[in-house]
Amino acid sequence: MSSLPVLVIGAGPAGLRAATDLAELNIPVVLVERRKELGGAPIRWKYHSLAPDFTPTEEVLGPMIKFCKNSSNIEVIEEAVVEGYGGSAGDFSVKIRKINGEVQDRKVAAIIVATGFEHFDATVDPRYSYGKAPNVIGINELEVMISEGKVVGHDGKIPKRVAFIFCVGSRDRSTNPWCCTVCCGVSIKQAIELKQLLNDVQIYMIYMDIRTIGLWEKLYWDSMEKYGINYIRGRVGEVFYTGEKLLVKGEDTLVRGPFEVLFDMVVLAVGIEPGEGTKQVASALKLKVNEFGFLAPKIPNIHFDSGKEGIFLAGTCVAPMSVEESIAEGSAAAMQAAKLVSRTKIIV
């Protein structure tokens, strides 16, 4: 095999899948990851399980991580970023800089960008007192607690009444206007896990719309029917820490009445934002960015096509999406890269 390798940037679900698929086609891969560990968001934030079926994260990502680490076709460069590129499709030259400062120039045939997302930083939105009041946490923090099997407040007390506030940092003009698509499902999944963990906890979901798309709807139904989780349609204006509990001020739009109810814990369904990595790669590879800061595909309906020949996009750097979609997109991008590699081989 003499062809040039394919560069995959980002080792999250999409990147890992792309690298795995290419390696299985006997195409060499250079997998560059900004962090120390492979696995992307699900590993970084220690996702306990994945919606909609409570599949352990390990079961989904484990085999891919193991394969990428062991495959002779894949060269993993951790703690590194791509800084610049030149050349054209089939014959790119890229500059990879490691955190320790070491720079290497590499020749690659194609580039797959799968740099993923960051969770919305809720301190930006002072309504929710995130970062100021204790026991106001994001879904990412709750996920860690669930992974550890121990959900407690800052004082070690088990919460009796928990509110989930949906659409924090999404569908909101003052922060991020887009819908993050997965937070509804993930929050409901966590609510069910919380209910299983702490039997007599009362859970209230404060939502504006429930968007459990596709087969995820089952989560929504089960949460109500089997677990007695309550849903309040409305928005929250302020979370106030009384020194003991959290006073959530909101409106139940179905009764058209304001409520001020005390909770022990407030979980914010923080949305998906294009992360630092995505911003960095956009400037390094001179990719087009849309009005929301995500990488813009040439045609919005065809995610993998970056508009630049030989550079393909996959996963949440293009738009918010679930792990299953990211994996599918990784495969799709790998297929495009494989097509390009096989074509260049014939020409050569």
């Binding site: 009362q202 209230y204 929504y220 139904w221 109500m224 029917e225 007695g228 309550n230 849903y231 309040i232 349609r233 139940d252 179905l254 009764v255 009445g257 304001p258 409520f259 001020e260 109810v261």
Partner: protein
Amino acid sequence: MSDEEKGKHIVERKYVDDSRIIEPEKLEIGGIDVSGHWGTLVLPRTIEDFDNSMLKKVKSMPRGKNIEKCWQCGNCTAICPVAHAHPEFNPRYLIHIVKMGYSAEVEKLKDTVYFCSGCGLCSSVCPKGVDPQGVMIAMSIAFKSKKGYR
């Protein structure tokens, strides 16, 4: 004092529920008579708690057990022949306030549950199998229950 008499000095009286106005017949502050609108107070309408005791009662009734499946689509109210004639009877709304435990609202509306004619159309259109007709039966019993809800 009758409900109409209470708080009659409030200019926008019609926007205030009768139950929120407190105006005793006789009120004195340090020997000075402040009866009438000088001593009127208007309670806030904020919902301050979720009281699930009513929900438990309704769920314990044979045909009320499905109340938790409700997702407030409004199909029941849309098809209910009674609701079309009597807006104060709204099965969807009754289910919601009982589920969430808005006690003041339940107190205000609990007698409307007897408007239900038991025709069963709501149960036939419910997409989640809540059986609103059965829930209405469960509620009408629960509202009169001595152990239930005050």
